[in-house]
């Protein structure tokens, strides 16, 4: 497009919206139009919300979580148990576990990625130094490696296991198996084999 149709401001908004994950140029245009039409109900509150987040958001210096306070609300929470530490790749994984409300009493450690030599991501790029610190403090009794079940995730898990082998800590990983509600017919062989191997008594 040689010349913007609707002013440079709207054009810029469309271009920036298109950089959100899951939005392409077409849906960015739809989004921008929707925002313009709902100026008071959506556009202005959203601009303000983004400004607030940009001003207030911090990365927790303890666990790597994203929050508006540092240490984050989870690290500050005195009711949580220091003995169990769940290691996740990304803040999104931490959110998923918290949403599921299955690990309410645990603390987290966000790596901020996974080892991926092909992408040039090595141990120094991950939040590993502070993980060793937390483990060395002696309060952690069990480390749950809730990394993704991908090659990179598993490589990261092995690296961490090696790294902290000197400390006498129980290291566990999430179970592999059939997803709840999943159909066997659609599962890959690896998952089926893992589920069969880890079968439990009824």
């Amino acid at each position: 497009m040689s010349k913007p149709i609707s002013g440079p401001e709207i054009e810029r908004l469309i271009q920036l919206l298109a950089r959100l994950p899951g939005l392409g140029p077409r849906s960015a245009r739809r989004g921008a139009l929707h925002l313009v039409k709902k100026r008071e109900m959506l556009l202005e509150p959203l601009a303000q919300a983004m400004k607030d987040v940009a001003e207030n958001v911090k990365i927790c210096s303890c666990c790597g979580n994203i929050d508006t306070s540092d240490p984050c609300s989870i690290c500050q929470d005195p009711t949580r148990d220091d003995a169990t530490l769940i290691v996740v790749e990304d803040v999104a994984d931490l959110w998923a576990l918290e949403r599921a409300a299955i690990a309410k009493r645990c603390r987290y450690h966000v790596l901020g990625g996974r080892l991926s030599p092909l992408d040039g991501i090595g141990p120094d790029d991950l939040n590993l130094a502070s993980l060793i610190e937390r483990v060395a403090s002696g309060r952690v009794k069990e480390l749950i490696l809730a990394v993704n079940a991908t090659i990179e995730g598993q490589t990261t898990a092995h690296y961490i296991t090696d790294m902290i082998s000197a400390y006498n800590i129980k290291v566990t990983r999430l179970a592999h198996g059939v997803p709840v509600g999943g159909e066997l017919d659609y599962l890959d062989d690896g998952t089926l084999a893992a589920a069969l191997k880890a079968r439990t008594l009824l």
Copy 2:
């Protein structure tokens, strides 16, 4: 979720993002996380772009287009021909026609919707009064009704045709037919029938 995981500001950003078309709660969370991670590259510029648009955007009092100037850049453009007026339902349709660069010399009129009695949208809710004004000015020679090929769109087209029948103006509509690149097998009967009826000499 009883208590926000990551501070009320981020929670509010997620809720507002989820109200964009095409984004659900899950993709809004992904988007918010992406924004937080790219604070300087994306979050701050986007907040500023939204503020700029909210402050500067106007609805053109002549044609109903959205722009940062009133009259809009298309209405102000002296190289465009007043004789041909393309009537569209929505600004998105105007953008689509302008992007296709097939009607560069025409002017537009944005209705801001379509007649839909079931949704309670009547003639008074559309930008029709100013359309009559523009038609009555005598400069318009052809009105191209580029409304959607839906029941509501066609109803709107008929209503406009009746409304301006007193003025001696050519009224046309977009052709129905096979979309370029489309396969007959996937087309509905109505489109096929229309395409056959309007067949052209090779």
